[in-house]
Symmetry: C2
Subunit: 509 residues, 2 copies
């Protein structure tokens, strides 16, 4: 895994390949900034041209990513990487080859149209959601599903179904059969925990309602993110309706966004920690591999494991509040006067079925994913039509969580993902929790996590992740990365046990 | 000037041309957003890649702008425009031809390198200014001058000198001989006014120091800009160290930035009005001509006339404060308790030599321009070397304004312009004042400006500008536009008289 024994010629071949990658990355960089701007600062009247520009850039990037010259350069780099015996270089060219082969299968027109439709469709979703009007989004959603079906056809190898092709875009090697099995193992465990807690649910503590002054919330959560290890000098924090993390160029410019409400500080605080977790992952790539797949996430499940680790396994613990409550009391002395770290831990770990995924607690969250997974599968198998989506959604919501959405925006219109054509994406959220639980278990064997966190020391924990999870980028496939990091394969039981113990220790049931 | 008599074939030729222009504009759109982001939100660690990306995009845009297919399309469009007899179309193709011919002369490598050097050089200037270290900026400045000399050689027709070629980039038809003559007419007048006021200068009123809470300043100035006619739904307001206006896509997305200090509200308020004036110009282009030269500024002098008109001829008047003081008192009731509109008018119209151009008053401002004009001429004629620039600057500062900068950042390093290669640009600021004074005179003949402003009615005034100045875009050359709008040519005496009267009425001398 060193690059010391690479000869001059081998080095040249890699350098030449990287120049190709750089030319593609610069265009993607522009697209990423444009998309970030669209979500954060662009006035709505700029949307039409923005969509066209994103389509145009996607076309250019796509053209560059399927040039024959790139293919030839990859061949030379493959020979060089093989000759060098360098594992990192071999992984690099393997991943470049992967992207190239896939790019070749997608016609430029499809890439251009997709980017343009995405940009427009996000705007359509936003306005449909605001007006609580599913029918206003339906045509765009149908178009997105058509485009994604077409893309899955282009990319299909030996996958059992189109939906598996899409899942693979986000989580290499994952199939709907595997994920069904994971759900089969996880869902009953979650339901069991929920039943136990809900039976003796505590009311939300009075202090929780605030009001929490927005600017103070933002300052506090920014300070928390910084202490955890998010480097704001290589990023930034902006306000949006839907929080996200985006990397104009990893690891040098990795930004997060958040939202803030006066009557609830958790949305902002845990949103920021969550996105900072994502950002720390991308800030942890090795600078020297900028513009290459080694400065890229191997999968969204691994990505999500980093956000969930910091949000749930660090942020929603009593130890976290032992350290951070005194700081938060400086911002909100009156409201938090009589509140203890233990009160906080209990308050920020409710277990209660609810309608909105992003506001869901750690336990019920998995059920939101199971719902979406089933709905998406049905949409792509043809078992479900877009027009019937709202009723399918509501039925599953009733069966998984015992709730019926009173409107579209708290139901089928709540998530942004479908608006940008991301189907097969939701399962990675649950996978993230599974990975995170396993990382937590492995770190615990080396580090006393609670002791470090309570003392406000996050460096060793972050270093563990940096070394094993962040630095490799796309060098290892998700399950290999997991195995190398924790010494065993994916095991849903670890996640369920982990949650079970946490709920017992906090809720006492 | 109608497009009603255009035939199908003519229409097709224009449509085809516009498709070429659109493909160029989409790339420029991306560059503009990237540049805006660089100034407003990008972390400094993202700067290296950003510079490369801007270079890459400039290369693509430049390649597209000199394609032979574009040349052929222009020919067909020229025939169509000629046949149609439509003056607007004729102006459109004339301007497209102008850009095309100039683009052909600039090698793609030069365009790419310029964009990349600009982006890096802005960062070098920022850090040199922060560290007050001219030598840290000197190499980049020299490189910029070399690049601009090369560009002037490429673009040179029959201009007397390279500097005239550069002036022409910003103000079509302007020469250094003309501008010298303007300075010759204006400078003595300004000096006379300054001497009169300085002799009996009033101290800055006590209330002026504030402290002015920043968020309140921002809210107030935003409301002022909106009332004047800046449409925030087609733009946005952000914070930067150097205020500017930029158009990702005019007239749909025209943004401004500002800065804000607690001890001085004028920097923010008049900065916002100034940039809003620029923005209203670009928001006033006709939507149907998006991506064409008819949705573009004819010159920076005309652009500046719009910012100066709103800032100085509207914003710095007693009538303005008759209307806006009550609103400002809502934000700052304690500080402004005993302040009258007349007090305000006096306070915001100081006349006092100072070091910083952007903070200079309306009268001394012109002297800052004369200084820069002479220095730039000398740099491009070879009479002045970059290394000698600081001392040349300081000498002229002493002779024009009787002041010696105590450091570089309040002297030769104060302006951003040279860092992005903008030489020949400063004269347009003074030209803007000249145009503005003439527009003011012409509007006064039709509209009682003070009466409208005092009543908070800005619509008629804006409409006058919209119709005569904004809507045409690049249809008419600057001096033609002026003549059509006010019925006479450029006359520096009108500006000097205008200032003279204003100073008399406010300062009583």
């Amino acid at each position: 895994m060193t690059t010391e024994n690479v000869t001059e010629t081998e080095h040249e071949a890699i350098t030449e390949l990287r120049e190709h990658l750089r030319k593609i990355a610069l265009i993607s960089h522009a697209s990423t900034v444009l998309s970030w701007d669209q979500e954060t600062h662009m006035p709505s009247s700029g949307g039409g041209v923005r969509a066209e520009a994103l389509g145009e850039l996607a076309g250019i990037a796509h053209e560059r990513s399927q040039q024959p010259a790139l293919g030839e350069s990859i061949e030379r780099a493959e020979e060089a990487a093989f000759a060098s015996g360098d594992e990192t270089l071999q992984a690099l060219v393997r991943e470049v080859r992967h992207d190239y082969e896939r790019s070749l299968r997608i016609p430029v027109e499809h890439a251009t149209e997709s980017a343009e439709v995405n940009s427009k469709s996000i705007m359509a979703w936003q306005s449909a959601r605001e007006q609580d009007d599913f029918s206003a989004f339906e045509p765009m959603l149908s178009r997105q599903i058509e485009l994604q079906k077409a893309e899955a056809e282009y990319l299909r190898d030996d996958e059992d179904c189109l939906y598996d092709v899409l899942m693979n875009k986000y989580e290499r090697g994952m199939t709907s059969a595997n994920f069904s099995e994971i759900c089969r193992q996880v869902v009953p465990g979650l339901k069991g925990i929920i039943d136990r807690v809900v039976a003796r649910a505590l009311p939300e503590p009075e202090f929780f309602r605030g009001p929490w002054e927005k600017t103070k919330q933002l300052e506090f959560s920014k300070e928390v993110a910084t202490q955890l290890g998010y480097d704001l000098d290589k990023g930034g924090l902006d306000l949006t309706s839907h929080p996200f993390c985006t990397s104009p160029v990893a690891p040098f410019d990795v930004r997060i966004t958040t939202r803030v409400y006066e009557d609830n500080f958790t949305s902002n605080l845990y949103g920021v920690i969550h996105e900072a977790g994502h950002a720390m992952y991308e800030q942890g790539f090795e600078e020297k591999w900028v513009h290459t797949p080694l400065c890229d996430a191997i999968s969204l499940g691994i990505h999500e494991s980093q956000s969930r680790f910091w949000e749930n396994d660090i942020g929603r613990t009593e130890a976290f509040w032992v350290h951070f409550l005194p700081l938060m009391k400086k911002y909100f002395p009156r409201i938090l006067e009589d509140v203890s770290a233990n009160d906080m831990a209990l308050a920020v770990n409710p277990v209660k079925p609810s309608l909105i995924r992003v506001d869901a607690d750690e336990v019920t969250y998995g059920l939101h994913i199971a719902l979406r997974f089933e709905v998406e599968q049905a949409l792509f198998s043809g078992d479900l039509q877009v027009a019937d989506l709202p009723s399918a959604w509501n039925e599953k919501m009733e069966s998984y969580l015992g709730l019926t959405p009173p409107n579209f925006k708290d139901g089928v219109l709540q998530d942004i993902h479908w608006s940008f054509g991301a189907f097969g994406y939701f399962p990675t959220y649950l996978l993230g929790s599974l990975y995170s639980a396993q990382f937590h278990q492995a770190i615990s064997e080396e580090i006393d996590i609670d002791q470090e966190v309570a003392a406000g020391r996050f460096g060793e924990i972050l270093d563990w992740l940096r070394e094993r999870i962040h630095k490799p980028g796309r060098q290892f496939m998700p399950l290999d990365l997991l195995e190398r990091a924790v010494g065993k394969g994916l095991d849903p039981a670890i996640f369920v046990d982990h949650l079970d113990r946490k709920v017992q220790s906090i809720h006492g049931v």
